[in-house]
């Protein structure tokens, strides 16, 4: 990992929160600017002053909007915050509400660079536990894999790896319903049998084949290799399609 380019301006927690709010308004609610009153937080004015000084926001009377560099910064903050939520719910098993609260503070201490490591560890999740999209980072685009990851999309597992389904995030709702109906439910034990030409996984006593797109929707908390007693002979060792994403 290269030296982390630290922000010149060490933003306060409230300043980060303001940035994140502006970003959500712009990217997810299609409102490029926000009235000051909506930006919450107690020391709003001090936070805004810091942001204005750093050139991250622009203010016209009572309306604030992000500058270009502010947008970059804000996206990164949102990404870290949502990754932190994911980490807290998937790995530490915190409840959703608890995780959301802790994530805000947690995020503040997550430096850029480390977020990519956590993202890889979590199998490059696409949404936070509440279903909001996580802005993809460099690591997602490069498809970085790490041997020690905790959560992985089924599509990124290696044959023989086993675990428990952590959550399902399907881009198509119908597909999520189908996976749930077939018994691919959070908490179920799952192991990957083969990746090519289609993904085949073991779910309880059943074997289910899916395509790559569907395998990307299932996120698994890796627990190790497939238990030997249920898979006696050597399963065919299949070449992993590395780097294909």
């Amino acid at each position: 990992m290269s030296a982390t380019p630290m922000s010149e301006y060490d933003l306060t927690e409230s300043a980060e929160e303001v940035l994140a709010r502006l970003w959500v308004a712009k990217e997810e609610q299609d409102r490029p600017s926000c009235p000051v009153g909506e930006l919450g937080t107690e020391d709003r004015e001090r936070a805004l002053a810091q942001l204005l000084e750093s050139g991250l926001v622009e203010r016209e009377a009572d309306v604030v909007s992000l500058t270009h560099s502010g947008e970059v910064q804000a996206e990164s903050i949102t990404r870290r915050e949502r990754l932190a939520e994911r980490l807290l719910t998937d790995v530490l098993n915190l409840g959703e509400a608890q995780a959301a609260e802790a994530a805000c503070q947690f995020e503040h201490h997550l430096r850029r660079g480390i977020d990519d490591e956590i993202c890889t560890l979590l199998g490059h999740p696409r949404v936070c536990p509440h279903g909001s999209p996580i802005p993809p980072g460099e690591c997602c685009r490069a498809g970085t894999r790490s041997a020690g990851k905790v959560i992985s999309a089924l599509a990124d597992m290696t044959p023989g790896q086993a675990g428990v389904i952590a959550y399902i995030h399907a881009t198509r709702r119908e597909m999520m319903e189908r996976l749930l109906a077939m018994g691919a439910v959070p908490g179920s034990s799952i192991s990957l049998l083969q990746r090519s030409p289609s993904y085949v996984f073991q779910l309880g006593e059943a074997q289910i084949a899916v395509d790559r797109e569907t395998a990307q929707d299932v996120y698994v908390r890796i627990t190790g290799q497939r238990p030997a007693q249920s898979e006696p002979g050597q399963r065919w060792r299949l070449r992993r399609g590395r780097g294909r994403r």
Binding site: G131, E174, V185, G187, S198, G204, Q207, A209, V210, Q229
Partner: protein
């Protein structure tokens, strides 16, 4: 059978004899109990149906083969039962036409008993459906099937524990061997079960919202209001449609309640509902299934099953299946030995000559005699072709197909080809209709119903009509070209190329997303001969009832066309096109008659060829063109019925110029390169 609102077609279809419920209306009236089998795909519902009724439902080791609802009658001890076999579904919530059928049957049919058939070894994944059926409040019995397979996997079922947990009567069966069936029959015959008091409390706000919605419902849904409310919360399309029909005034309020509950949880509510059901199912399955260490040795079947899915080992296995199954069994044995004997000996020597003599003496007008025993006579041509050529071919193919289905090979083939099929707009699931098309394209067009999206169904219908030769056609082509391996290779290459290319283009042109692929892979099983035989016979029966009347009607039509000289006009119109692809005039009627009967087109080419009018290159060109050329009239009718007139007409309009265009190009290339065949 589902029909589109087309009066004439409906009447035509109703006039055809069919292996369905319609003809048994009288029996239905006397049945004292109506029982429905419900369960996920591939758990043995159809085997149980066969066992009870002694009738046919297409049984196979492939998920999703019960396309229509089979109905049959059974006498269990002293009770007369009407048994319904529903299409496999994992859940009552509906995503596909198939699954909607089950939900609608539950809501609309007056049922005395519902039997949930579950796979013992996957009990944990099966119980959520049991839970839904309990919630629906239908009189319910649970049949845990395939206990023999579960035993082999080291799992023993404690039926009493399961029964106690769920508050339901439970039977444990192995339907293929008949084990435990008396217990199931006793349950079918006995007192209807009392409603179960089993209940899951869903996490808030689901439970309270469901109660609030239930209190707004007044219509008769056929299932409990709580079950309807839960379906509404899951945004189930079928339930919302029923709501609109039965309680339209509650619509706005229900929508508000559901949206409110959805807003409170950020995920779809079905997620939380599914998780709650599965947690409960998991708890129960842990108690009801006793696990002991299974034998560590991998059986030959498992090995074969794994090899068939392997990207490399899968290819030689596929090649072996094609060579032995299709070429040797259907091509050589069916098309060669059987057809030679039936057509040459039986009809050629023993039936046609005396009949011809008989009719010519009996009927003084030659024109009328022609109708029966002429060149295109109903008997000499229609019946002879149907019985002596088509039936043995189709029969051999159906037998092969049944063996493949029951062994569990087809789902493995599906996962093997999924990536390639994605390129042509289909998913791996489409191998079933496509492979079946090599037997009978008409039946395969019906089976495209197992595909999930309309787009996929249209592409599959199109490809079946264009590039998949049926066994009747295949038999003639293999027979004609087997002496010319180069010609056969060119024919095969061109047809495969057209299949892939036209599929690729269709996928590009038709709007919509590619269908997702997901399929449960059943274990490899030795096919039960009895099952294979029933299925093959049932399919042949279907074929004889649905297709042969159309072919006989086509013979009459050909006769009318001949005497009214309408065909001469059509032939004159076809001749330039036929000449353009390098074929003699005589080949024109092959194309015209090819529409009435696919195999007949190829067979006419054979006649022309035997007459010495065609050498190697034109023969291959003719075979390619006739393979691509418009589907037979039976297939066309089914296309109209399943996909609508417009889609069917469009498919026809594309194929006609395409077939001749491909023939023209091939002829140009082969003659320019001076290819010797």
């Amino acid at each position: 059978m589902k029909l589109r609102p087309l009066g004439w077609l409906k009447r035509l279809s109703a006039a055809l004899p069919r292996d369905g419920g319609d003809g048994h209306a009288a029996e239905t009236a006397t049945a004292s109990r109506r029982v429905m089998l419900v369960g996920s795909p591939n758990v043995g519902k159809s085997v149980i149906f066969n066992h009870l009724t002694g009738r046919y439902a297409v049984v196979s080791n492939y998920p999703g083969t019960t396309v229509e609802v089979s109905r049959g009658h059974a006498r269990v001890r002293d009770t007369l039962l009407e048994v319904l076999d529903s299409p496999g579904s994992y859940s009552l919530a509906t995503f596909s036409e198939d699954e909607r059928v089950t939900q609608r049957l539950l809501m609309e049919e007056p049922l005395d008993l519902v039997v949930h058939v579950a796979d013992a070894k996957s009990l944990r994944r099966m119980l959520p459906l049991t839970i839904q059926l309990i919630e629906a409040g239908v009189p319910l019995v649970l049949d845990v099937n395939m206990i023999d397979e579960a035993e082999r996997a080291g799992l023993t079922l404690a039926a009493a524990v399961l029964s106690q947990e769920l508050g339901l009567p439970v039977a444990a069966t192995a339907a293929t061997s008949g084990e435990g069936m008396e217990r199931l029959e006793a349950l079918l015959d006995g007192e209807p079960p009392k409603p179960s008091d089993f209940r899951i409390e869903y996490p808030e706000p689901i439970e309270s919202t469901a109660a609030a919605i239930a209190s707004l419902l007044h219509g008769d849904y056929g299932i409990t209001r709580r079950a309807v409310a839960l379906l509404l919360l899951q945004r189930d399309q079928g339930a919302w449609a029923s709501l609109m029909q039965l309680d339209p005034e509650a619509l706005v309020e229900v929508e508000r309640l559901v949206s409110e509950a959805e807003a409170e949880r950020n995920r779809p509510l079905s997620y939380a509902i599914a998780v709650a059901r599965h947690q409960e199912a998991d708890r129960i399955a842990r108690r009801a299934l006793v696990r002991r260490p299974a034998s560590a040795r991998r059986s030959f079947r498992q090995l074969l099953g794994d090899l068939a899915m392997h990207p490399l080992a899968g290819i030689p296995i596929l090649a072996a299946v094609l060579y032995f199954g299709l070429y040797l069994f259907v091509g050589r044995l069916g098309a060669g030995v059987l057809v030679d004997w039936l057509d040459g000996r039986l009809f050629g020597d023993h039936i046609n000559p005396p009949l011809t003599a008989f009719f010519t003496r009996l009927v003084p007008w030659p024109v009328v005699a022609e109708l029966f025993v002429g060149e295109y006579g109903v008997v000499t041509l229609g019946l002879r072709y149907a019985i002596a050529i088509v039936l043995p071919l189709v029969g051999a193919f159906f037998l092969m197909f049944a063996l493949l289905e029951d062994s569990g090979y087809l789902p493995r083939l599906a996962l093997l080809v999924d990536r390639i099929f994605k390129r042509i707009g289909l998913s791996g699931r489409a191998v079933i209709p496509i492979v079946l098309g090599l037997g009978c394209d008409t039946m395969a067009t019906l089976v495209t119903r197992v595909l999930q999206t309309r787009r996929e169904r249209i592409i599959a219908t199109f490809l079946l009509a264009l590039a998949i030769p049926c066994s009747a056609q295949l038999g003639v082509i293999l027979g004609l070209l087997s002496a010319r391996p180069v010609g056969l290779a060119i024919w095969g290459g061109v047809i495969a190329g057209v299949f892939l290319l036209s599929g690729f283009l269709a996928a590009k042109l038709l709007p919509g997303e590619a269908a997702r692929f997901y399929l449960e892979i059943p274990p490899m099983r030795w096919p039960s001969l009895k099952n294979v035989a029933t299925k093959t016979l049932a399919r042949l029966k279907w074929y004889a009832a649905e297709i042969i009347p159309i072919f006989l009607a086509a013979s009459v039509l050909i006769w009318v066309g001949q005497i009214t000289r309408i065909f001469d006009l059509a032939l004159a119109a076809l001749r330039p096109a036929v000449n353009a692809i390098g074929l003699p005039d005589a080949a024109a009627d092959a194309f015209l008659f090819g529409f009435f009967r696919r195999d007949y087109g190829a067979a006419r080419i054979f006649d022309v060829h035997s007459g010495g009018a065609m050498s190697g290159v034109p023969l291959v060109v003719a075979m390619v063109t006739i393979t691509l050329f418009v589907p037979c009239v039976a297939q066309f009718l089914v296309m109209v019925r399943e996909r609508g007139v417009r889609a069917a007409a469009a498919v026809g309009a594309i194929i006609l110029p395409f077939a001749f265009g491909a023939g023209y190009l091939l002829n140009l290339i082969l003659t320019t390169l001076h290819v010797q065949i």
